[in-house]
Symmetry: D2
Subunit: 344 residues, 4 copies
């Protein structure tokens, strides 16, 4: 039984991680920290966890994680990097669900995240935890940069065609839509029910932090620097779900896109390639670790359209973190992650 710790478990990613770990047969959550809620019972704070967690939030004191095998950070950006050096030095594996270790180019990271990185040397060692792209590296990793929600669905949607070399690297257009939980649990006017419900809007057209993250992965896949990526996120009045609609230009008009996807993902437990002509809806993966994908070759022109959906809190965050943990500790990759999506 692995002993796990969670740093900062009061957000949506935190409660989702606790939900998943409660059902994991090989993990025991030993402690959960929160500066703000220290001393409060976890199950008082999140009534959905009543009967599943009988511990209090603790202050993140030094050494508190010493008995853990693995620690997850579900903190705002800029926090996890302050914990990483000590945890790693003590041989504790660390899975960061925030963005602190996702971007290899430190300057680029510091520009987008607006702060100085406190341990740039560790960034090089961190493994970008998208198992479908980096599985073998994940197995031997000590530090995981768990991917962002948009990058997960988008990269999985592009991987087979880029790998097969049948699409142009430029332009690649990603029109992505997210449920509101992706914006976190901090109280802001912009994410109030009364601001978001029954409305739809784009945001961050001029630039979003997930754009360089996606581009980095696409460059790794292609081995080139010529990816021309337009990424426009939209806020959708729903709780969970990412829908990434991807537009690419085919360079090989005869390519059998459906076969490319099916063979690429044939042995992936968490990527489901839908039959030709499908339109996956986000609810079909609600509360599960799946990414469902459909690919459409249009009748006219060279454009192909890829539709990729996931639950942003599971495959886009906490579920993928547990998938990475399973790999890191030699457990079956799907352990604790096989629940059926909750529909409707």
């Amino acid at each position: 039984m692995l002993k796990a710790g969670v740093i900062g478990g009061t957000g949506y990613t935190g409660v989702e991680l606790l939900r998943i770990l409660a059902a994991h047969p090989e993990v025991s959550v030993e402690l959960i920290t929160s500066r703000g809620q220290a001393g409060e019972h976890v199950a008082d704070y999140f009534p959905s966890l009543r009967g599943h967690y009988d511990i209090e939030f603790q202050s993140p004191e030094k050494g508190i994680f010493d008995s853990c095998d693995v620690v997850f950070a579900t903190t705002p950006n800029g926090v996890a990097m302050n914990y990483a050096p000590e945890l790693l030095s003590k041989g504790i594996k660390f899975i960061d669900l925030s963005a602190d270790f996702r971007i290899k180019d430190i300057e680029l990271w510091e520009k987008w995240y607006g702060m100085k990185h406190s341990c740039p040397d560790l960034v090089a060692d961190a493994v970008y935890g998208l198992p479908e792209m980096n599985r073998e590296f994940v197995r031997s990793a000590n530090l995981i940069a768990n991917p962002g929600c948009y990058p997960t669905a988008t990269t999985l949607g592009l991987l087979p065609l880029l790998n097969a070399g049948v699409i142009a690297h430029d332009p690649i257009i990603v029109d992505a839509k997210s449920g509101v939980t992706g914006a976190g649990r901090t109280a802001t006017t912009g994410t109030l029910y009364s601001e978001v419900s029954d409305s739809f809007k784009a945001y961050g057209v001029a630039g979003h932090r997930h754009q360089p993250e996606i581009r980095q992965s696409l460059s790794q896949i292609t081995g080139t620097n010529d990816v021309g990526l337009t990424f426009v996120p939209h806020l959708t009045p729903m709780l969970r779900g990412i829908h990434s609609t991807i537009y690419v230009q085919l360079t090989d008009g005869d390519a059998d896109l459906q076969s490319i996807f099916e063979s690429h993902y044939a042995s992936e437990p968490f990527v489901d390639v839908m039959p030709t002509g499908s339109h996956p809806d986000t609810r079909s993966v609600r509360a599960s670790n799946l990414c469902r994908i459909a690919v459409h070759k249009l009748v006219e022109g060279n454009t192909a359209v890829i539709l990729a959906v996931e639950d942003n809190l599971v495959k886009g965050a906490a579920g993928q973190a547990v998938q990475n943990m399973n790999l890191m500790f030699g457990l079956p990759e799907t352990l604790g992650l096989t629940s059926v999506p909750v529909l409707p």
Copy 2:
């Protein structure tokens, strides 16, 4: 491993039952019938079940369930009663999630459901499957009338105080709110997104089928015929959830209501009595088999208010059916039903 069959699995109760049974370690779903979808793969019809069910819907031919240990009916009212005699005669246990066997008074049932009952003699043998009220009868039952969604939350909310004899039997006022899945999956104008979203309304004030069902249980609890029950259901723009707000008049002003609830439900695995002063929200039980209850004694007057929430598709339908199945077959009552609620 129990072999299970499902009659009419194309509605929301059906897909929820299939979701729960897919994760149940002691059940194998052998066949699912549907006249309309016969021949279609279950996982094509419900993409959320892809990877979990590799069978087709079948026509409900005679004898088709002969190899089953247990059969569930998730059909419209008036269908299950046509299957019951044969199934029971063959020694197959039958759990009816519709209303066919819930009302002991046949005349009353026929009035409310607008049809002739085809096997009134079996109604007497049927056990009303609310384990918290009838657990021992459920254990030995062959035919279960699985309770309605409103009756489950409402009866669980009233049981301890009626049992303790501290409230008047009249008036008891139940103001109940349901998510839209409670209205089923048949296409009707009244349940379109564009009719229901961003709006709220009462319905059936003049009379709702769940009123006599609740009254029957309250009469069983009190052993009297003097229960004066007002029941007003409301349609709420949400997918899942029942919230029953119950108003009773205290006859013993000194009664410790919190203690009465806590001691009554101390050993119940699926009823969670919240701390004094709580306001349970429906999402705190989403996709779980729990009923959470809070009781409030008001500062002025003799009125007490009970708040009871459940997921109408789980504790109000498919989860309770599986709980009954566990009891009928001597399995641990909570087997396959311990998943953490999905929040948010």
Copy 3:
């Protein structure tokens, strides 16, 4: 053309008032204050007002309203009372949409609102601006306490039967449901989309500020102190709308409730008594100044059920304020308030 000022126009009540006044043929909004947004164009802050308002928010400096005929306060509780004395002394009529002048009993107000009242003497002069109850007083008022959203629908639902003397004064049970805009536009975790959507809950069962306000009106109507009022509000996942479900005990079983309502409200422009058997939905009054009511006498027992709906931002706030303004200035009561509800 009346010159109007608005104090604190950055909340939902504020933007709704600006929407209504923009279409009012006899009012010109001269200035809108906001400490936080001073200097920002109103139409930049609320893009829905682009093309209708070409002014900036101003700091609420002393004397700024001197040229106004009427000033509206759409501020948090405790602010308007600081403006009232000066405005009234200058002969400017003042309509307070907050709670500062609603409760005549100063001690009671101070207990519920947790602050000292700065001008208790003015409370006696203030007219509670529910025209259907106090129309003649409103006409000659200088200071209006605009009613709360819950009290408006609830009082209108009870007025005819209390007035006719056909119901018991105790118990009166009000089970009320509100859309989320009723909670205001301040950023709080509890009103985030991700907390409120697809869920339902009661709140304030132990006590809500609108309970004493409703009770005060009911006592005024009955001329007694024996009203036993239970009031339980619920938060509903919708933007706008109040649905008040009211349970009363009939003392005269032969009373023709439908006739009592129809004759009582026969000449009221903003109260619509629905036909017998109706279930008004909140969307049927969306964005309009209407309160729609249906009354149901149950088949068994003495309980009657009244269903009353309104748009909390219009008849429950800004629309009623304009209705009061019309009366105060001798304009037609319905001027600027006759728009058709927006459905769906």
Copy 4:
């Protein structure tokens, strides 16, 4: 006062048209037909219209519209074409909100709409009623093909840049999102609340009827046949609203896109070009006849992004129909259409 008739007023476009016409100072709705609801009071069918319409639905008998100056059709596709010849022969102006007269290429129309056109000769005379493109033709038209909801927002978003000749004609990618009212009021499983809420999906990727309609307009604007248009619609869990996100490739990297939009639409009453950097949300135009547009030139590459929002039932349907009517009868174009958007 114009006398107006409405054919088939029981859908969402119908009730919206009735809402708008009720407030129009120069129109009186004389009759509304519906085969299914004939004999029912319009205000009983749509309670939101109580007090505004005191007529019944009538059967669409021959000659029934003879006294009308203008007739609107808010019917399913394939109905209006059966009324057009007679109405036009009698000198009655006809505004068809369905698709019967939108596509000039009869073969193309018959392919997409799956039926034979009954009066192809009239299609040539019909004016495509997008005033921002065809205003002068609208003024003298007798038969208006009122544009579809997606085409309106999309064409308005592309018009200035195509007209200025600063973008490539291929590829033009339109990722469009619609609220559920766009799917109509017919009861179908796919538009049930329980199917659509809290989820997001694309549909019709392989082909949607609005694609040829948009392409026809783009070809008219460019005067060429080389437009390469990819159009992917998505269903969004909201009532009203279209959000069209448009991706184009700039051919002139120095073009000042903001100026092009602002000058193009400088005198348009219903197109609002937002300031640089804006992200219009659909609620900012709710219940109004506006289309709000923002244009973004990305930092890298040649891609520009245009965001265009409208209320699908107003500028995308009933409001635009009234705008066309105003033009056809020489009334001020904005008459009856200046109401402020309802936010939130």
